[in-house]
């Protein structure tokens, strides 16, 4: 066993005033009475308990000293060797990209991911360390390695939902670099899996993927670029790409507004998996 703050043993000296006050306390207040015949009737009936009454005072002192001892030991922060050897190091990667704002699960995928992350935090053991990374457009370490659950929870709550793209691969790489070659290192990923090359992550060792959300039909703008027209000095050219990511054909409209005024409305009929570019 080793102690993080052995200096706290000095607080054991508080036992001295406790014993002193105890000795002072047991000098009972003397009360003159005209007779003790009634008191004797009361306390003589409890004669079998007299041993307990004598012990009770000693027990109260022992309980006080025991409490002090426990307090001092707690302050020294003792740790057993097996605790240190079995301690885990975890990195929690929370996906806060745009797809996490989907409401296919109540209330949103991102809130579900935070709940899942809180369950991971609640499950860490005494000597485990955990760091948190937000995996939006730029992976960011929002909480360095810590053992303090309150800090983890606060930092987790501070991660905002964004409309940015997903950088889960970069975030997982960053997490693995943070873990280094720790023998009990692991990455916990809370994401909906809406990013490219998902299968490569599934095969990674020591990656615990907590999937949030479920697959659903989705049609989205997957490319968008606006530039000045090469032929019209006051006009603009728009490159738009719309993908039907569902397994069914869909009919939809692409509406383009400029400062709230409609510029163009294009009716689209897209087969399953079709990509429309214009």
């Amino acid at each position: 066993m080793s102690f993080a703050t052995p200096a706290a043993f000095a607080l054991g000296l508080l036992a001295v005033p406790i014993v002193l006050f105890y000795i002072l306390k047991i000098r009972l207040r003397r009360v003159p009475v005209s007779t003790t015949i009634f008191w004797r009737q009361i306390f003589d009936e409890k004669q079998p308990r007299s041993l307990w009454q004598q012990l009770r005072h000693w027990l109260s002192l022992l309980v006080q000293l025991l409490l002090l001892m426990l307090l001092v030991i707690a302050l020294t922060d003792p740790s057993f060797s097996w605790e240190r050897l079995q301690a885990r190091r975890m990195v929690l990667v929370v996906d806060n990209s745009a797809s996490m704002n989907a409401t296919d699960v109540e209330p949103t995928r991102f809130i579900q991911a935070q709940r899942e992350a809180r369950r991971v935090i609640a499950g860490i053991r005494l000597r485990d360390e955990l760091a948190i990374i937000a995996a939006a457009s730029k992976p960011q370490v929002v909480c360095g390695f810590t053992r303090h659950r309150g800090t983890m929870t606060d930092k987790l709550q501070s991660i905002p939902a964004t409309d940015g793209p997903t950088r889960v691969h970069d975030a997982v790489d960053l997490a693995r670099r943070l873990l280094g070659d720790h023998p009990r290192g692991s990455v916990v990923l809370c994401s909906d899996g809406c990013f490219e090359n998902v299968e490569s992550l599934r095969n990674l060792p020591n990656l615990d993927w907590r999937v949030v959300g479920r697959s659903s039909s989705n049609v989205g703008i997957t490319r968008w670029q606006v530039r000045r027209s090469l032929v019209d000095p006051i006009g603009y050219e728009i490159l738009a790409e719309v993908s039907n990511l569902s397994e069914e054909a869909v009919q939809c409209r692409l509406e383009i507004d400029l400062n709230g005024l409609p510029v163009d409305v294009l009716p689209l009929e897209l087969a399953a998996g079709q990509v429309w570019r214009h």
Partner: protein, 172 residues
């Protein structure tokens, strides 16, 4: 005749008569020291009734905190034709003591010391025992048709005497 007693007869004001002796009697009472140990009425009466003297009314003024009980002493007085008139006095703090927690009870009569822890329950039991003791004295007096006055020491002497006279029907 006035006898001062505790565990036995400790002092005595001899048989006297006439108002002229009242000052001597008051001086005797004022100079009477606190003495003796536990109250023992039976032993006291034993030493009194075997004297060769005239029979008459015996007025017992006491708190009657007799560890052996008061009935033996009063029985002796009755049997020897000294019908007792009991005046039982107590302090209000004896009836309702303001004691709680760890205390050392010092009995001023026998100088014994008891270390006890008094709880609310103990206090309730004490008050009950005290009330039972008072009631037992009153019941004894009623049973044998004896005069009995029970009061605390906060009642003025004049008021007490007046009350006794009213009970006796001497005044209205």
């Amino acid at each position: 005749m006035v006898l001062a007693y505790a565990d036995r007869i400790l002092d005595e004001f001899p048989l006297t008569r006439g108002k002229a002796r009242i000052l001597s009697l008051l001086r005797f009472l004022e100079e009477l020291p606190i003495q003796g140990t536990d109250t023992d009425l039976a032993r006291t009466v034993q030493g009194f009734v075997h004297r060769n003297q005239r029979r008459g009314l015996a007025v017992v003024v006491s708190d009657l905190f007799d560890p052996r009980g008061v009935s033996a002493g009063l029985d002796l007085l009755r049997h020897h034709r000294y019908p007792p008139h009991v005046i039982q006095l107590h302090d209000p703090r004896e009836a309702d003591p303001d004691l709680l927690g760890d205390v050392e009870l010092y009995d001023v009569e026998n100088e014994s010391v008891s270390q006890v822890t008094i709880s609310e329950k103990n206090l309730r039991t004490y008050r009950q025992l005290f009330a039972e003791h008072q009631a037992s004295v009153a019941e004894y007096c009623v049973r044998y048709n004896l005069s009995c006055t029970q009061t605390n020491n906060k009642v003025k002497f004049d008021d007490l005497v007046l009350r006794m006279m009213r009970v006796a029907g001497t005044v209205r």
